[in-house]
């Protein structure tokens, strides 16, 4: 039943690095979180639980792994509270306890936090330190906006953030008695850590898995195939399996809903599913490519996505979460879908060896229900090129700018021939049971002149496209009002009458 392409038997042991040592764990419980492992098994209690849903950042740790080329290391902050331990296989886990030097000296990130009075109650502090460490390793000279983005997944209730931002900007200037060239963690991006880096790479290579992982423990099974073909077979054999990619939603099923997940198939080791390629006709995105990997590519072709993507969840969530997950999850309030609908995105679905293409527009059939057949899975996402990107705009309205779920998300893509509207895609999230195009509104736009009267007429039919509900994010009335007003705002921006938004006002 398990059509492994490898001759070796499937391993039941995971291996990862922690403080330079290779840790091996036999028969790990597939849904045990990294945070549970740290706090309960290792009693490394520096990493905290604040919410157990990836929204407060107190649990932030850093994961280092070999990059796609296999010759460099990438460093990402993630939420340990919803990350399953088994997904650390082949990677390095770095926690707040990893940072002090052998002589007890504080890391520059830590020192800057002390010097700038960046902690009060201190409970969120280890998480901030780890998010700052990721920034330190990835960005040699961040701006204030870079810092805000790096910290978007970390909540502090005491300080008002100012001293933490100061620490983020000051950490590069902290001197240390430790020798950066001999201490990989100590080296900020751009500093010379060649020797420890090479040691790290060789250690990571030594635990790189070449066979499939299959764990059975506590009545639960986790399989981690390495090729799409194997994945397809596994899903066909067990169509009710839970597909796990970043775990930013599945993790909550476990920590919040206490669901028992008996069969999990982890997608993170299927290299093909993490590929992103650009051709003349489209951008093709593997379903398990992380949002952090996908976003820069999309923004390069569609600059209008920049603001939406900075406001999309938080860096730790984007580092783990995938675009495929955001789509397949079929939430009516997922932030990627209105834009992808407006871009006429096509999904490649697969069952066994069979592939079929389906416009994203036809994928959602009801509340959290999709056109996926049993045994079928989302393999790739195709965003058409060349972009008529000049006509694309996106909007997100939420109570808080960063790391909030949209009350309304909107995307408009209008193609003009002269003054005439020749293509019109108008898509909204948060207004219906599914992310949805406003077909009657689009019809009202098509073939008309791009002018205020046309927009007003199109606004007037939006009521026919949507009947939103009241909930804790917004009332139905507000949602409809903003639904209409965003189309007007799009028009005003397109004609140059409005050039600024509140989000970026005076922040550049």
């Amino acid at each position: 039943m398990h059509p492994s392409s490898s001759d070796k038997p499937a391993a039941e042991k995971i291996s990862f690095l922690l403080d330079g040592e290779i840790i091996e764990i036999n028969d790990v419980d597939p849904t045990r979180t990294v945070l549970q492992y740290l706090r309960e098994d290792l009693r490394r209690t520096g990493t905290k639980e604040g919410c157990a849903e990836g929204d407060c950042g107190a649990c932030t740790v850093v994961v280092a792994e070999l990059d796609h080329d296999g010759e460099s290391v990438r460093v990402r902050a993630v939420n340990s509270c919803i990350q399953f331990l088994a997904t650390l296989d082949g990677k390095e886990l770095i926690t707040v306890e990893s940072l002090r030097g052998k002589d007890g000296s504080l890391h520059p990130v830590q020192k800057a936090m002390v010097d700038c009075h960046g902690s009060q109650c201190g409970f969120c502090t280890p998480g901030f330190v780890m998010s700052l460490l990721a920034l330190y390793k990835n960005n040699a000279s961040p701006t204030r906006l870079d810092v805000d983005d790096a910290l978007a997944g970390n909540l502090c209730r005491c300080t008002g953030y100012r001293p933490i931002v100061d620490a983020a900007l000051a950490m590069y200037d902290e001197s240390s008695q430790r020798d950066a060239s001999d201490d990989w963690l100590l080296g900020a991006k751009g500093t010379n850590t060649e020797k420890p880096l090479q040691e790290k790479i060789s250690k990571l290579k030594s635990i790189r898995r070449t066979n499939n992982l299959a764990i059975k423990q506590a009545g639960r099974r986790l399989s981690s195939p390495r090729s799409v073909a194997e994945l397809a077979d596994l899903i066909q054999a067990k169509p009710d399996s839970t597909l796990l990619a970043g775990g930013t939603d599945v993790g909550l099923w476990v920590t919040k809903r206490h669901r028992e997940l008996d069969e999990i198939i982890y997608l993170g080791n299927v290299a093909e599913l993490r590929n992103i390629s650009v051709s003349a006709t489209h951008i093709e995105i593997g379903a398990a490519a992380t949002l952090s990997d996908v976003m820069p590519v999309l923004v390069e072709h569609f600059p209008a996505l920049q603001e939406l993507f900075v406001r999309f969840a938080s860096p730790p969530i984007r580092n783990a979460g995938t675009l495929g997950g955001n789509i397949a999850n079929a939430s009516p309030i997922g932030d990627s879908m209105p834009a992808l609908l407006a871009l006429d995105t096509v999904l490649v679905l697969r069952e066994g060896q069979q592939q079929r293409e389906l416009p994203l527009d036809e994928y959602y059939v009801g509340y959290q229900a999709t056109a996926l057949q049993p045994g079928e899975f989302l393999e790739k996402i195709r965003v058409p090129l060349p972009a008529s990107s000049s006509g694309l705009q996106t909007y997100k309205v939420s109570k808080r700018f960063d790391q909030d779920i949209s009350a309304i998300c909107a995307a408009f893509c209008i193609g003009l021939d002269g003054d005439e509207i020749v293509t019109a895609r108008v898509a909204y999230g948060g207004l219906a049971a599914i992310p949805k195009r406003a077909k009657q509104c689009e019809q009202m736009l098509l073939g008309k002149a791009f002018e205020r009267a046309t927009i007003d007429a199109a606004i007037n039919v939006l009521d026919a496209d949507f009947q939103p509900i009241d909930d804790m994010r917004a009332s139905a009335e507000y949602r409809m009002q903003v639904c209409r007003n965003l189309l007007l705002r799009f028009y005003l921006e397109s004609t140059g009458a409005e050039t600024e938004r509140v989000y970026g006002y005076n922040r550049a």
Partner: protein, 769 residues
């Protein structure tokens, strides 16, 4: 000398915070046989419990025991004042989330899973879910109160102008990052030792003793630090600790109860939301002649601390203004929602919010800058200086402070620039506001204004410091250690800061009401002075000099012309059999207050401040952003400017969250749907204005004889954020013609702002029709 008073040393635990080595209650090494607990919670807002089937819970994997109301040997209460807070609902549940039973299991996961398995048969009863409905039905947790000065009725009738209004002001979750937690350990002879994340170990000790049928002497409570509290750990930890203690008493095993975030937010109290009605009379210059307020606050299902909280609302509905005729009615509404509790400001913010709304309406009605109306109505110096509750404002500096901020913030030219921007922009509108604060310092219940400390000096000259205050991140332990370092003239690293512990300092008040350093600093100072006095007398005698010639200075003691290290004198004193341990005690002088008549001097002194906020709004979506903030705040003679600045900035941003993004939303069944950070949005880094200018008022020694003439700083800065709300109103107002009041419900979410814009546009059209 390291760590003297006035120096900006880091928080004493900063190096531990940043390295993850600071130990919180959940980080304490767990006893080997520890049981983990979870609470079974009500699914109904108001219902009779017909039956509970706990069999599925008991038979779940890993479950060791289950307890409910009949298993409590002592009193079924965790309420601090009125004993109306059951630990377990007896036969009727009164809010969604109320504790019905607790389960003990071998793992956290097993306990939480099992707690969901009970089959409860409810018979629904009528639920009151809204304060106005409660007023209508006369559903109150405590009697309504009235505060009256002068004759507001007559004054309103003769006023040149009169306005009425109603505004909704939302509540706020404390959102401490560390959730509620307690771990109980069995000790000899049935005694209990409790680790708790609590602002009030002494009260916890009392309530645990009562619940378990023990006495205070049988229970010890310890707390080294909390991961934030903000008032949410004043009374609320009692339920958690009582359940842990009861299960430990029953099983003989150590028990830990740590609430999941969602459960914490459903189960524990928050800041009271208010519905505020007002009626104001004023002359053409904006001088207020009379105000009447009716406050209806959501207290929830029990009294908790709502009496004192709503009293403080009444005491602060004058803010910094002299109101010659005032009538305040305060309804303490009983609703079938979680019992609301202390939160930074303790009712004060709601009172100050109310009068600032009145001021803003008066200004808009007259078409003059709200700042001018504020200035005109400030308390006077030597005249117009008696508060409605009869206390003379003796330390008033609000006028000078506001003028200083007015100049440093460049208020006037920015107002002009904003008006011109608004004239040129259709969709984006900017707004600005300067609001003042005056906040009374002391517990209004006079007896709580006392504190104790315990100080030991060891033979090597190092010091063990303990006091009744608790550390929740505010830097209290650091400040009190600075006081002792200053008093003994030794480096602060010679002083060991130790956990709050009911067996060291008894009967301590909650660390609340901003009073921590005022009370405990003085108590520790008293203890240090006692030992210092003994050392001085010993040195004088031993070296044959006058006591006045013994001077403690920078780790040394000068005895006549000779200097010796502090620790050398300590060693000599010990050898000569001198007691090197002392308690210190402090009670706040001058205060007195008669609750029957709402008169007296409830506050030792006032603290002052002001803020200018500038915002931008989108009139199509209601989205809004804070652009610039200027703050000038009074800390007296600051004990530690860096820590005080942290309180000012943190309090301000927390207040801004209260008034903008933080919305508590219940559905029609009384279920709170914003019970996690995914749905309840406190500010993040990018909500903080890039241009954020915060200054501590200089040369501002407290006129009262507080510890080194400092002032309390914990709560007052939160109310500086009223400037944000009023700046938003200013931006909204710019969408219509002058003379119109702006109806902006708080929190000013994008929806609330858009509603305000639309309401104004409607009335504007009507007026011109």
């Amino acid at each position: 000398m390291k760590g003297s008073v006035g120096s900006s040393i880091p928080h004493d635990s900063a190096h531990l915070h940043v390295s993850g080595e600071a130990s919180y209650t959940d980080d304490i090494a767990e006893p080997r046989d520890l049981l983990h607990l979870a609470i079974g919670m009500s699914e109904r807002a108001h219902a009779r419990i017909k039956s509970i089937d706990l069999q599925p819970v008991r038979s779940a994997v890993g479950v060791v025991d289950v307890i409910l109301v009949d298993d409590i040997p002592g009193e079924n209460n965790c309420g601090p004042v009125v004993h109306d807070d059951p630990i377990f609902a007896p036969n009727r549940v009164q809010y969604v989330g109320q504790s019905i039973f607790a389960v003990a299991a071998e793992t956290v996961d097993a306990a939480r899973k099992a707690a969901r398995l009970a089959i409860v048969d409810y018979e629904d009863m009528d639920a009151v879910l809204d304060p106005l409905e409660a007023v209508e039905k006369k559903s109150f947790v405590l009697p309504s109160e009235t505060l009256t000065r002068g004759d507001s009725r007559s004054a309103l009738k003769v006023a040149q102008n009169r306005l009425q209004g109603r505004v909704h002001l939302g509540g706020q979750d404390q959102f401490y990052l560390e959730g509620q937690i307690a771990m109980a350990l069995p000790r000899d002879d049935g005694d209990l030792f409790i680790f708790s994340s609590t602002q009030h170990p002494g009260e916890l000790q009392t309530l645990v003793a009562a619940a378990t049928g023990k006495q205070a002497k049988d229970v010890v409570v310890e707390c080294r630090r909390m991961g934030g509290a903000f008032g949410g750990k004043e009374s609320q930890p009692a339920l958690i600790a009582c359940i842990a203690a009861l299960m430990t008493q029953r099983t003989g095993r150590a028990c830990k109860l740590r609430l999941d975030r969602d459960d914490d937010m459903r189960l524990t109290g928050k800041r009271h939301d208010f519905i505020i009605d007002y009626d104001v009379g004023f002359d053409d210059d904006g001088n207020i002649g009379a105000v009447e307020f009716v406050f209806a606050s959501r207290c929830g299902m029990s009294a908790d601390l709502s009496g004192a909280i709503n009293d403080r609302t009444m005491f602060h509905c004058d803010n910094a203004y002299y109101l010659p005729n005032l009538n305040v009615i305060s309804h303490r509404c009983k609703t079938n929602t979680v019992s609301n509790t202390a939160f930074r400001g303790f009712g004060g913010p709601q009172g100050m919010f109310a009068i600032e709304c009145v001021i803003d309406d008066v200004a808009r009605c007259l078409g003059i800058d709200a700042l001018d109306v504020r200035r005109r109505n400030f308390y006077g110096v030597g005249e117009r200086d008696i508060t409605p509750y009869g206390q003379k404002v003796e330390d008033n500096i609000i006028a000078e402070l506001v003028e200083q901020l007015h100049a440093s913030s460049d208020y006037l030219s920015r107002v002009a620039e904003i008006r011109s921007f608004n004239a040129q922009n259709e969709v984006l509108k900017r707004g600005i506001a300067l609001t003042p604060i005056k906040f009374g310092i002391s517990f209004t219940a006079t007896h709580l204004n006392q504190a104790g400390a315990l100080l030991h000096i060891y033979t090597d000259g190092t010091v063990h410091l303990n006091h009744g205050g608790t550390e929740m991140g505010q830097g209290l332990f650091t400040k009190v250690a600075q006081v002792v370092a200053e008093e003994l003239q030794i480096d602060i690293d010679q002083i060991k800061i130790t956990a709050s512990d009911t067996s060291k300092v008894p009967n301590a008040s909650a660390t609340a009401a901003s009073s921590g350093s005022d009370l405990n600093g003085k108590a520790a100072q008293a203890a240090a002075r006692k030992i210092k006095g003994r050392l001085s007398r010993f040195a004088a005698e031993h070296f044959g000099v006058a006591e006045a010639e013994v001077v403690f200075k920078r780790n040394e003691v000068l005895v006549g012309d000779n200097a010796m290290p502090f620790k050398e004198l300590v060693r000599l004193a010990w050898f000569a059999r001198t007691s090197l341990s002392a308690t210190g005690f402090y009670k706040t002088p001058k205060i007195h207050y008669d609750r029957e008549t709402f008169s007296g001097r409830p506050f030792y002194y006032y603290t002052y401040g002001a803020a200018v906020a500038e915002v931008v709004i989108d009139t199509l979506t209601g989205e809004n952003r804070l652009l610039r903030v200027d703050i000038l705040h009074d800390c007296g003679q600051s004990l530690n400017p860096a820590i005080d600045k942290g309180q000012i900035e943190g309090g301000f941003i927390q207040g801004a969250g209260w008034l903008t993004t933080e919305e508590l939303w219940w559905n029609e069944r009384g279920e709170l749907k914003t019970h996690a950070p995914s749905t309840y949005k406190i500010p993040t880094s990018s909500d903080v204005p890039i241009d954020f200018r915060v200054d501590i008022l200089e040369s501002a020694a407290n006129r009262e004889e507080t510890v080194f003439r400092s002032k309390a700083v914990g709560e007052p800065p939160l109310m500086l954020a009223l400037s944000v709300y009023h700046a938003l109103k200013d931006a909204v107002a710019s969408t219509a013609s002058d003379g119109q009041a702006v109806l902006l419900q708080a929190p000013a979410t994008p929806e609330s702002v858009l509603n305000a814009v639309r309401a104004l546009q409607c009335t504007d059209t009507t007026d011109h029709a």
